[in-house]
């Protein structure tokens, strides 16, 4: 790699005359790389920080021979991509790290079978847990599945890595992971983007071979186990040939050697410049920038050990490279120190930056880490004085009405909120955990709310148990849970908050999105038809903007035996507002408003604020849901106009 920002991968790619320098995100780079690689099918399920990859493809005009879709969940998405690749075509599947948990059952199996056409799995991890999920390191899956994994160091490399991953996949006949992290996936940087290449005109492969396409019996399964191990070894050889992992040995023997993973490699030079200023007789360390994180680049690592006294391993989250560095150190009789997570220098939590490189090298050199001087106290005070901004639902969000209806229904039933379990699920519906609602108790994984609720019912609780779940999450993983509850005739109430969109990840379509907004040729599946067909005897539909009726319906449902489903329906206000819709128009009557603040404390709506004498409504934010008017004890908020949401 040269210092002007051109990764090695560029040397391989011959740019055509149509190549353009574009400011794009890491996710877009993945999408455009796949187009350049002639991908035919791209599937996925939305999940921060990965959503922008498939999301951007769906907004492009692509050749008719390509197919892109948001699938019902990650496993379905992967199965589709795998089927395409078995038939000999190039396919990619996109997901966040939690999605890989869902897809993993199929990924293991396909890993052992191998593929014919190129199959790339794009998975984006979230060190730092910006999106609030398990801080999970997908490299562990690559190790466990014996699948090759490549990781871009920069946004520009994300483009090249996807093209390379398709080549690698077809060369060794295996799915290949491209792993990214939030800071790459969501960063925008200049990338030389070349013209898309249409999918090759390949005759679909129909090959009858149970030894490859099934796991029928131990002879087949074990032969495939040998195959997957062999393919990973071939991947290692191919990566070495491609020069994927960049080894720069210092001229003088001895000194510090650094092994960095993915994005961390981009911080090294900046940290070295700082250290050069601070450390007398500074010597540039030897460096191994790892982009192929599975299999471990053992040969390059051994050359690094042979040159250096001390090794520093710099990788976010789990010490995957570090553990394998220990193995290679033992094999190569390296006797020096290895600085990393296993010796306690670094935590396994959070993102890395320049500071981590400085600390690691300082530790290796036995120096005091150059501190950020005496500013610690200032930083601490700034942190302490910052006002907290707990996240809540948007102005006009229909979930607000549903949370209020649940809370009121419990009060009507003379139940205290602290004695009724309301399980939560993934997506915007989880915001019911925060004030002012404090309705939802927990959050586990896609669709888990219903099974959890069933477990609480069996725990011996005397109070009703409620499960809450959003529409997309219900389609994704909630349906088996509901079927299970119906089959076992469990006394629980499931509240499905249907706003027609996969909202939290940025408004993707799902099976329940209104027919008008379904991608062309798609059919809508209406939850109001599906749920009764699942054997649910007590099924109700409520409008969360009609608080009284919604409350009564929930309270009534709680009295009934067996499985009750309440479908709370109203479109996501953000989406409706983008089309110029409003649920209505509300205004404060200054004469009647006593500034009791009840509207604010009960709804927590961001469009309400307290002026000198009265409450005021920010009409730019307000969607006119009128929940504030419905909770005002003085009828001081008028509903001026009903809208057509």
């Amino acid at each position: 790699m040269d210092r002007n920002g051109k990764p090695d991968a560029h040397k391989r790619a011959k740019l055509s005359e149509g190549a353009k320098n574009q400011l794009i995100t890491g996710n877009e780079a993945v999408a455009l790389g796949a187009l350049r690689a002639g991908v035919r099918v791209v599937t996925g399920y939305p999940g921060t920080p990965s959503s922008g990859a498939l999301g951007s493809l769906l907004q492009m005009d692509a050749e008719e021979s390509r197919h892109f879709e948001w699938s019902t969940n990650e496993k379905i998405a992967f199965d589709i991509a795998a089927g395409t690749a078995w038939a000999g075509q190039r396919a990619m599947c996109t997901m966040k790290m939690s999605g890989l948990n869902v897809a993993s059952d199929s990924v293991f199996s396909i890993a052992h079978s191998g593929v014919n056409g190129g199959l790339v799995i794009y998975v984006a991890d979230d060190p730092g847990a910006h999106a609030g999920m398990v801080e999970q390191d997908s490299r562990g899956y690559a190790r466990m599945m014996d699948l090759p994994m490549v990781e871009p160091m920069t946004v520009a490399e994300a483009y090249e890595m996807v093209i390379l991953a398709f080549e690698l996949s077809e060369r060794i006949g295996s799915p290949v992971f491209v792993r990214s992290v939030t800071s790459i996936a969501n960063s925008h940087a200049a990338v030389m983007v070349d013209e898309p290449v249409a999918p090759e005109d390949r005759e679909p492969i129909l090959e009858r071979d149970i030894a490859k396409y099934t796991k029928a019996g131990s002879a087949i399964a074990q032969a495939q186990h040998h195959d997957v191990i062999r393919r990973l070894r071939q991947a290692g050889e191919a990566m070495r040939e491609m020069g994927l992992n960049d080894l720069r040995l210092a001229h003088e023997p001895g000194g510090v050697g650094i092994i960095s993973a993915g994005v961390v490699g981009a911080y090294l030079d900046e940290a070295f410049a700082l250290l050069e200023d601070a450390v007398p007789q500074w010597r540039q360390p030897s460096v191994l920038r790892v982009r192929g994180t599975n299999p471990f680049p053992a040969e390059e690592a051994r050359r690094l050990f042979a040159r250096c006294d001390t090794i520093v391993v710099l990788e976010e989250l789990e010490p995957h490279l570090e553990r394998q560095a220990w193995v290679e150190a033992r094999r190569s009789d390296f006797g020096g120190r290895i600085v990393g997570k296993l010796d306690g220098t670094f935590e396994r939590v959070g993102e890395y930056g320049v500071g981590h490189v400085v600390r690691g090298v300082s530790e290796a050199l036995g120096l005091e880490e150059p501190r950020a001087m005496e500013r610690g106290a200032v930083y601490e005070k700034a942190d302490r004085l910052t006002a907290a901004r707990p996240i809540t639902v948007c102005a006009g969000c229909p979930h607000r009405g549903t949370f209020l209806a649940i809370n009121r229904a419990l009060r009507q039933r003379k139940l205290h909120r602290d004695e009724v379990m309301v399980t939560g699920d993934i997506g915007c519906t989880i915001l019911g955990m925060n004030p002012p609602f404090e309705t939802v108790w927990n959050e586990v994984s896609m669709g888990a709310s219903i099974g959890l609720a069933q477990g609480y019912v069996y725990s011996g609780l005397k109070t009703p148990v409620i499960a809450t779940i959003g529409d997309s999450t219900f389609f994704h993983g909630g349906i088996p849970g509901l079927i299970n509850a119906v089959q076992h005739q469990v006394d629980l109430t499931v509240i499905i908050m249907d706003n027609y969109w996969t909202a939290m990840t940025g408004m993707q379509t799902n099976p329940g999105t209104q027919a008008t907004f379904q991608p062309s040729g798609n059919r809508r599946i209406d939850l109001a038809e599906l749920i009764p067909a699942m054997g649910v005897e007590h099924f109700f539909v409520i409008d969360p903007f009609q608080l009284e009726e919604a409350t009564t319906t929930v309270a009534d449902a709680l009295r009934l035996p067996g499985v009750k489903v309440v479908l709370a329906r109203q479109e996501c206000a953000i989406q409706a507002q983008r089309r110029g819709l409003r649920a209505g128009l509300v205004a404060v009557d200054a004469e009647l408003c006593t500034a009791c603040r009840r509207c604010i404390t009960v709804t927590g709506c961001p469009s309400l604020s307290l002026d000198d004498e009265t409450v005021s409504i920010d009409q730019g934010l307000c969607y006119g849901c009128s929940l504030c008017a419905q909770v005002c004890p003085f009828e001081a908020i008028e509903i001026k106009r009903e809208g057509h949401p």
């Binding site: 925008h188 030079d269 900046e270 500013r375 707990p390």
Partner: protein, 206 residues
């Protein structure tokens, strides 16, 4: 000790609240840098909420290969669009760097209800200075209407940032304004007025 920005590199942190248009002006800075053939990485981070949560944007200009995160205490410029969120910029700015504080106040609900504290302007100013930064204050009152329409605050702040700080030596203010004009052709006059008002506000000195 005053640390100078090294060579032609320039690191900007923008902080504010989701809905203020912080991401938009960060993106415009990145585009201007790209147009000027400067290496750039633009990294926005926000929480789960669509609106009302804290937003942070990191723009790194003039580097080839660059990690997205600006090291603590090393930003050449912090642009804060909200008083309390400005405190998150205190840990970012380098000693001797500039801190553009737009004095807008966006109180979280708990503060509005008197259940939580909110920092006084004086406290924020004090901490910015204690971090060794040169404070440039931008008065929200300088934002007025233009032909009956409200000027966009983020473009006002962008005008102040390129017109009244060293960012203007890295990015040509005229080129940035041109980007703004081309981005929203229908609102070109309003945006130009906002941009100009920000520039003008800074010309009076700190």
């Amino acid at each position: 000790m005053t640390e100078r920005s090294t060579g032609s590199t320039y690191d900007v942190v923008l902080v504010g609240v989701g809905g203020q248009g912080v991401l938009t002006i960060g993106r415009l800075m990145a585009e201007a840098a790209l147009d000027a053939d400067l290496g750039v990485n633009f990294y926005p981070t926000k929480g789960m909420a669509q609106r009302g949560g804290g937003v942070k944007v990191q723009v790194r200009i003039g580097r080839g290969i660059v990690g997205p995160q600006i090291p603590e205490g090393r930003a050449d410029l912090v642009v804060a669009m909200e008083r309390s969120e400005a405190l998150k910029g205190v840990t970012c700015v380098r000693p001797g760097g500039e801190f553009l504080l737009y004095g807008h106040v966006w109180e979280p609900t708990q503060v509005m209800l008197g259940k939580a504290d909110y920092p006084a302007e004086e406290q924020v100013r004090e901490l910015i200075l204690a971090a060794g930064a040169r404070l440039r204050y931008l008065d929200p009152d300088g934002l007025h209407s233009c032909d009956g329409a409200r000027m966009p605050a983020n473009i006002y702040v962008l005008g102040a940032a390129v017109g009244g700080t060293d960012l203007g030596r890295v990015l040509d203010p005229e080129a940035v304004l041109d980007l703004v004009r081309r981005r929203w052709e229908r609102h070109a006059a309003l945006n130009e007025a906002a941009f100009g008002a920000g520039l003008e506000a800074m010309s009076h000195g700190p």
